[in-house]
């Protein structure tokens, strides 16, 4: 893990002092990328100061996903039939005992992936898979190519358009298998294809499939009755089914996020609960009841012990993933009801450095919470309806 030693001022970063220093210096930089619920725009903010660093036009209002490396932000525009890519301007080269931090301007890349109704974005070790629901097609590429401005991709087709996902995994592609009788319903399994496009083994059954996340070297895919757990195998990915434990009430997971620093998954389980999942533990599922319905949740990549859940009463909760309990709660916004359309404007969470950021779309505000004290420190005004948010950054040496 990279250590946070010193934060340089934004002015210094912008002036390029760090980049021109002739000796190694430890610096920290974090950026936030925020999309608007109603306008086709992505804003880049310096996380520390809240200062806007750039504004990028998209085709339609977009959802956002960041690559594992944090070098690239993908603007997935389901209603615009396009995925655009933004270079975050921050890259950290891992050199084992230290990282090298490189800071440049964020910029919209001249790379687009067109296709009907793009939905799921998955990055696995720099291999990017984009799934286009309207075609039932996966387009896979590499982050290196995207950053080099190359829009080359490999296409893998499923049997029918459907709401699915794909993962590029160890030279194979994992693809959702549509429900043949009712393609409008959720997929029924995972098909593995090799580099030549040939199917490997049988379809792995996973009725009601929705939601995927990676944590370390494990990938989890949520199904109606449990999870598919995917690991590297000798020749092909190894996939096993982990049923929900009998102690859980009726329910299922449809959204997953993967722990960073600790290997676990956090998923929804019914509207008013979340579940902590450790597929290697005897007690694989720990369900945590929430005071009201869940709006959004995120893991803390800097403090592996914590994840955060926002609930419709306007509260954000600190979840200790080791003890499996909510340890702190903080009132933050007016209530945001989960009644209405699933994609109505509601808060989203991101963590950058020592702060937790929560968008408040109906108040044009970004709330900032100190991650250590779990107290609100400030509000940042953001034009429009700030909605999806991702954070990238870290610390490292600049030469």
């Amino acid at each position: 893990m990279l250590h946070l030693l010193k934060t340089v001022s934004v002015a210094a970063l912008l002036a390029g002092i760090a980049a021109t220093a002739s000796f190694a210096e430890e610096n920290t930089a974090w950026r936030l990328f925020i999309s608007d619920h109603g306008e086709p725009v992505v804003r880049a903010l310096d996380a520390g100061s809240g200062r806007e660093l750039g504004k990028f036009a998209t085709k339609v209002p977009t959802s956002l996903a960041r690559s594992d490396s944090g070098k690239t932000i993908f603007a997935v525009q389901g209603k615009g039939d396009i995925v655009q890519a933004i270079s975050s301007g921050i890259s950290i080269g891992d050199h084992g005992d230290h990282g090298d931090l490189k800071i440049e301007d964020a910029k919209l890349l001249d790379v687009e992936f067109a296709g009907k109704k793009p939905s799921h974005f998955v990055d696995h070790g720099g291999d990017i898979a984009l799934f286009f629901d309207g075609e039932g097609v996966a387009r896979t590429t590499s982050e290196t190519d995207v950053l080099d401005g190359k829009a080359d991709f490999r296409e893998t087709k499923t049997d029918a358009p459907h709401h699915g996902l794909a993962v590029a995994f160890d030279g194979h592609v994992l693809l959702t298998e549509p429900n043949k009788e009712k393609p409008d319903e959720l997929p029924v399994g995972i098909r593995v294809v090799d580099a030549s496009g040939a199917q490997v083994g049988d379809v792995h059954s996973c009725p009601g499939l929705h939601g995927e996340a990676a944590s370390g070297n494990i990938l989890a895919i949520a199904c109606a009755k449990g999870l598919l757990i995917v690991k590297s195998g000798d020749k092909e990915p190894s996939i096993e089914f982990l049923p929900y434990s009998e102690t859980l009430p009726e329910g299922k997971t449809t959204t997953l996020v993967g722990g960073r620093g600790l290997q676990y998954f956090l998923g929804n389980y019914g509207p008013s609960a979340v579940v902590l999942i450790d597929s290697t533990s005897k007690e694989a599922f720990r369900r945590i009841e929430l005071p009201t319905r869940r709006v959004h949740f995120a893991v803390d990549p800097v403090r592996p012990k914590f994840a955060y859940v926002f609930t419709e009463d306007g509260m954000i909760h600190q979840l200790d993933v080791v003890s499996g309990a909510i340890t702190k709660s903080l009132p933050l916004t007016d209530p945001y009801s989960m009644d209405g359309h699933w994609s109505d404007p509601r808060p989203r969470i991101a963590v950058a450095d020592d702060a937790i950021y929560v968008t408040d779309p109906l108040k044009s505000t970004l709330h900032v919470i100190d991650a250590k004290s779990f107290e609100k420190t400030k509000d940042i005004s953001v034009e429009g309806k700030p909605f999806n948010i991702v954070a990238v950054g870290g610390s490292g040496e600049t030469h």
Partner: protein, 314 residues
């Protein structure tokens, strides 16, 4: 009547006191071992006075291990945490922070003379540094336990840590450590004798990753490996080609897979050079119970027997 009550009270004190003491003694020292080799050392020193939880179990790879919330729970309850140190456990800092453990973290390589990673890899990495400056990726070899002389230092450190945490058991810990050290000395004699029986010209072999630097340093075999001291980084094509060239020039006598690494790379080297894979060496983890290397002593015996067998063809 009063007398009776007093007597009854006294009796209950008499009967309860030994029970209370026994119960205090019966509570085992809660020990977390970072990986299976340390677990075996700890059990040999602690006997039934300790209860060990191991984070990276048999056949597990500590270099790339991802700690789980349950590991943090175990660590938070521990009295003593035994680790290798020298950056062997990349996950350690995260786990210490997540668990907020108050246990003493004992680095068992304290007192070991560290050796550096092999020079050819430092040179290769410097050559690969495209951004114009060299990087040393934590250039100390952490696999000190592959020398039995160092294993004795680990055992001594464990006995000291247990004594500090449980003074009442100190005599037992020291006696156990002494007895186990004696067994280690005997095993070391067997390893040295086995190596002495291998012709000097045949003492270069190939494994997956640089886990045997201390074995080489102590006992005189030369180990070449496509991967560096950590399994985390993939070897470059140039590293693999260089190894294949060395085998073809008859500089290596045998090639081995390791229990913790993928066998593909070694199988590729074997198939391109015509060398037969000589067996499995246990590098950074013991085998499961019932396997050929479920204790440290069995691991060292199994490794040298496998090496000698493959080189001498017997």
């Amino acid at each position: 009547m009063l007398k009776t009550i007093r007597l009854a009270a006294l009796m209950s004190v008499i009967t309860l006191t030994p029970f209370g003491l026994a119960s205090a003694f019966a509570e085992p020292l809660k020990v977390v071992a970072s990986f299976s080799v340390i677990e075996d050392f700890a059990k040999n020193v602690g006997g039934d006075r300790i209860e060990v939880t191991t984070i990276v179990g048999p056949d597990g790879d500590a270099h790339v291990y991802e700690p789980k919330p349950a590991d943090a729970v175990a660590m938070s309850k521990a009295d003593v945490v035994l680790v290798n140190g020298l950056h062997f456990e990349g996950f350690l800092q995260r786990l210490v922070e997540a668990s907020a453990t108050k246990a003493t973290i004992v680095e068992l390589t304290k007192g070991v003379e560290p050796i550096k990673m092999k020079e050819e890899f430092e040179e290769a990495e410097e050559g690969e540094a495209a951004d114009g400056h060299a990087h040393h990726h934590g250039d100390t070899d952490p696999h000190a336990f592959q020398s039995i002389a160092n294993a004795k230092i680990y055992v001594k450190n464990i006995a000291e840590a247990f004594c500090a945490a449980d003074a009442a058991g100190c005599g037992a810990y020291k006696a156990n450590a002494d007895a186990y050290t004696q067994k280690l000395t005997e095993t070391e004699g067997e390893v040295k004798a086995a190596i002495a029986s291998i012709p000097e010209s045949k003492r270069t072999i190939i494994t997956s990753h640089d886990a045997f630097g201390y074995f080489e340093h102590e006992y005189g075999l030369t180990f070449l490996a496509p991967e560096g001291i950590s399994t985390e980084a993939e070897p470059s094509a140039a590293d693999v080609a260089a190894l294949i060239r060395q085998v073809r020039e008859d500089k290596a006598s045998a090639v081995f897979v390791e229990n913790i690494t993928n066998t593909r790379l070694i199988e590729q080297i074997a198939s391109e050079t015509g060398l037969k894979v000589g067996g499995t060496l246990y590098s950074d983890a013991l085998s499961f119970k019932g396997g050929p290397a479920s204790t440290y002593i069995d691991m060292m015996r199994n490794n040298i027997t496998t090496i000698k067998g493959a080189i001498l063809g017997s």
